[in-house]
């Protein structure tokens, strides 16, 4: 059995995760968080639908190559995509990657507003 290629995914300021070409970057980050490898996060890693619909896991890719699945245009515009702003659940690494959390994720903020205004 061959071992899959492994890439390093760096979440700027917080730590590193092991990434694999056929695994969603968000899933790699969730695993790293489980192993205590993401530190000093402003909030818990934002995990929602993991399928490109809810928009919670917006990140900016600051370096490296990736491929992506279709993402909801309600959350990622054509311009966003061109600038490397994507949903972490819909990208797969093709090289080592550097990411920055796009906080506050607008959807998450709306959810919190719902709690407060409920």
């Amino acid at each position: 059995m061959t071992v899959a290629t492994r890439f390093i995914i760096t979440l700027e300021g917080h730590g590193e995760a092991s990434g694999y070409p056929h695994e969603r970057v968000l899933v790699a980050l969730e695993r790293a968080q489980g192993f205590g490898k993401l530190r000093n996060m402003p909030r818990k890693l934002p995990v929602g639908c993991r399928r490109g619909g809810c928009g919670i896991c917006r990140v900016r890719v600051t370096g490296g190559q990736y491929r992506s699945d279709v993402m909801s245009r309600a959350h990622i515009s054509v311009e966003d995509e061109a600038q490397g702003v994507v949903l972490a659940c819909c990208i797969y690494p093709l090289s080592d990657l550097s990411l920055r959390l796009e906080t506050p994720a607008p959807v998450k903020a709306r959810g919190e507003a719902a709690l407060q205004s409920a």
């Binding site: 818990k44 995990v47 929602g48 639908c49 993991r50 399928r51 490109g52 619909g53 809810c54 919670i56 699945d69 279709v70 993402m71 909801s72 245009r73 309600a74 659940c89 959807v107 998450k108 709306r110 959810g111 919190e112 507003a113 719902a114 709690l115 205004s117 409920a118």
Partner: protein
């Protein structure tokens, strides 16, 4: 006939980002059957345990979420009666011609205070597969996937939940089976038009017209376990569960379709009668109401929608 007027959820039209992935998810995994594909590309699905033509419509779009939810009424004249009541209430009603969806008769449609489009119809042709009517077996074709028996209900999010409560009670004769009241006001309502604990539910959220989940009925807790096995085997994104709701008492898993729309498989839930009181929950016990075993909401419950 004690139940008249609005009988039950009929169908829901959901937007999907990837049609082939959506068809595979809803047919092979949830366990529905594809009835037909329309000329505009919409795909019509049903459970083999449902008689009506279809209960889920998939529409390819660039954003996830739902277009509309339609309820079935007992008779055609109900549509005229409800149109008058809704118009008198001050909400505009429009008309959708028979055949706009295959097998479905004329519909009336309107936008409720939370911004969702709701429709009513009274006629649907039957389609195959369906239960046998004379000397029926427990199933006509073997159940597959999660063995969903029907499209059961939806939970929708939007700002004016008070407005929806008033509208559904006054115009459509729904009743409120359960509600959550926070110190600063109403958070959520579970509404029924028949004898299920809920047919539609709403949670307060700042943005209009949002979907929390589309729910499918399963036979029992064993089938919820079978659904959990399928979710892991096919790497389907899970939100929470298997667990139970204090509200409605349903046994449940929340998970996501390939476009990020949340699905639920739901078993059990109590029988509602129109004379029953509205069950109420407050801030101290709301966690148990939403997820009975965890006794707290997860991060996604109030914030992850499409």
């Amino acid at each position: 006939m004690a139940i008249s007027g609005v009988l039950r959820p009929g169908f829901l039209q959901v937007r999907v980002l990837d049609m082939p992935a959506a068809i595979e998810h809803y047919t092979k995994r949830i366990g529905l059957h594809q009835v037909t594909e329309g000329p505009d590309g919409r795909v019509y699905l049903k459970s083999a345990d449902e008689f009506d033509h279809h209960s889920i419509v998939l529409r390819r779009a660039d954003q996830a979420g739902i277009d509309l939810m339609a309820f079935k009424c007992l008779e055609d004249a109900d549509l005229d009666r409800f149109e008058k009541r809704i118009t008198d209430y001050g909400i505009a009603v429009d008309h959708v011609k028979a055949g706009e969806q295959p097998g479905v008769g004329r519909r009336i449609g309107f936008t409720i205070p939370t911004g969702h489009r709701i429709e009513l119809f009274a006629h649907s042709e039957m389609s195959d597969p369906k239960p046998r009517i004379h000397n029926p077996d427990v199933w006509e074709v073997p159940p597959h996937g999660m063995r969903a028996r029907r499209f059961d209900h939806a939970l929708l999010y939007g700002p004016d939940v008070e407005g929806n409560l008033d509208f559904f009670q006054k115009c459509l004769d729904f009743r409120c089976a359960e509600r959550v009241d926070m110190p600063d006001g109403l958070l959520a309502i579970w509404l029924t038009c028949g004898m299920k604990a809920h047919d539609i539910a709403f949670v307060k959220y700042p943005e209009k017209d949002k979907l929390h989940h589309i729910a499918f009925d399963l036979e029992n807790w064993n089938d919820v376990g079978n659904a959990a096995d399928i979710l892991t085997r096919y790497d389907i994104s899970v939100d929470i569960g298997p667990t139970r709701h204090g509200i409605t008492r349903g046994q449940t898993i929340y998970f996501f379709d390939p476009s990020g729309n949340r699905n639920e498989v739901f078993a059990g839930g109590y029988t509602y009668y129109p004379d029953l009181p509205t069950r109420t929950w407050d801030e101290t016990q709301v966690g148990k109401g939403i997820f009975y075993y965890e006794r707290k909401m997860n991060d996604a419950f109030l914030s992850v929608v499409t």
